[in-house]
Amino acid sequence: MDWKALKKEIEDIAAASVENCPEDILRVFEYEIAPEGCGTGGLMLGPWYEGATASRYLIPYYMYNIVKLTKDLNLSVERIRQHMRLTMTKALGTAELSGMLVLADLTRRTMACVDEMENREEVLELLNALYLYGSSINAWQNYRVKWGLNQAFVIPTGHELVEMGKRAEESYI
């Protein structure tokens, strides 16, 4: 597998996602489209939670940890691979389960590519690209998640929340 081509592909998608919402986030969070049967009780809440977890923490957070550990502990390529297998496998499953298909595809191909690579600096370049893309969908997920549960309820404004907070003790007897 050509790691440079994969890195460029990920970087191009990451660069585009500075301006435009990534396809995964539009599909799962905005348009509420997910593979059949992936949500608990057929509801979208499952994919949203799973997708939010995959995009918000699992994949970029594991990438961050591996890149940081490599700086801190001077990890070898074999140790990087070991960390990837231990952490990313579950993250990848979560991304796929929730319909985060582009994120899952790029992650799967990155893991396969790293399995064949021996140059540590090249491995880190590829992981940095996936880390940036994961961070981008993390940012957009923050926008598109239904913070108010599908806008079913009126969401208090910041001012209202502060006023509610001041009167919180009235809730208790």
């Binding site: 890149v67 940012a139 926008y143």
Partner: protein, 150 residues
């Protein structure tokens, strides 16, 4: 020689504020400056209090050469409004927040810059507008960072 500074600018508002180093972590400030200009999607924290959140900032020129846990840190709940902290930053990717109001998370982070005092009201006003938008009408905002001319 004047103090180094950078601007953060929200193109959707056509507003910018000046940002300056603080009493510690000057090397983090300098590392950020060496990677300018850069830009990202502008989001907010939701659970940790009122903060602007920069989650996908490309640090293209110079790789991160510091470790969060090794740096001087301050408690988010205690440091002042307008202060920057780094979080989940490594390699060529930066994540950071700027406190814009109350923050309750009793966690320490490496703080490294402040919004300049003369721009603080503007900053808080913009932060409030973005925070409301993310929960209500979900407009998209971006933020650009570029070095101030000396």
């Amino acid at each position: 020689m004047s103090k180094p500074a950078f601007y953060m600018r929200w193109p959707e508002f056509n507003i910018q504020v000046r940002c300056v180093p603080i009493h510690h972590n000057r090397e983090l400030f300098d590392w950020f400056m060496r990677n300018l200009p850069t830009k990202c999607v502008q989001t907010v924290t939701v659970c940790a209090g009122l903060q602007l959140y920069m989650q996908n900032v490309k640090m293209e020129k110079v790789e991160c050469d510091w470790i969060q846990e090794d740096q001087p840190q301050e408690l988010m709940a205690e440091y002042p409004v307008g202060r920057f902290m780094f979080f989940m930053t490594a390699g060529h990717v930066a994540n950071f927040t700027i406190k814009a109001g109350y923050a309750t998370e009793p966690m320490p982070y490496p703080t490294w810059a402040d919004v300049a005092e003369e721009d603080m009201d503007t900053f808080v006003s913009v932060a409030n507008e973005i925070w409301e938008s993310i929960l209500q009408d979900k407009k998209t905002f971006h933020v650009e960072f570029f070095a101030a001319e000396e």
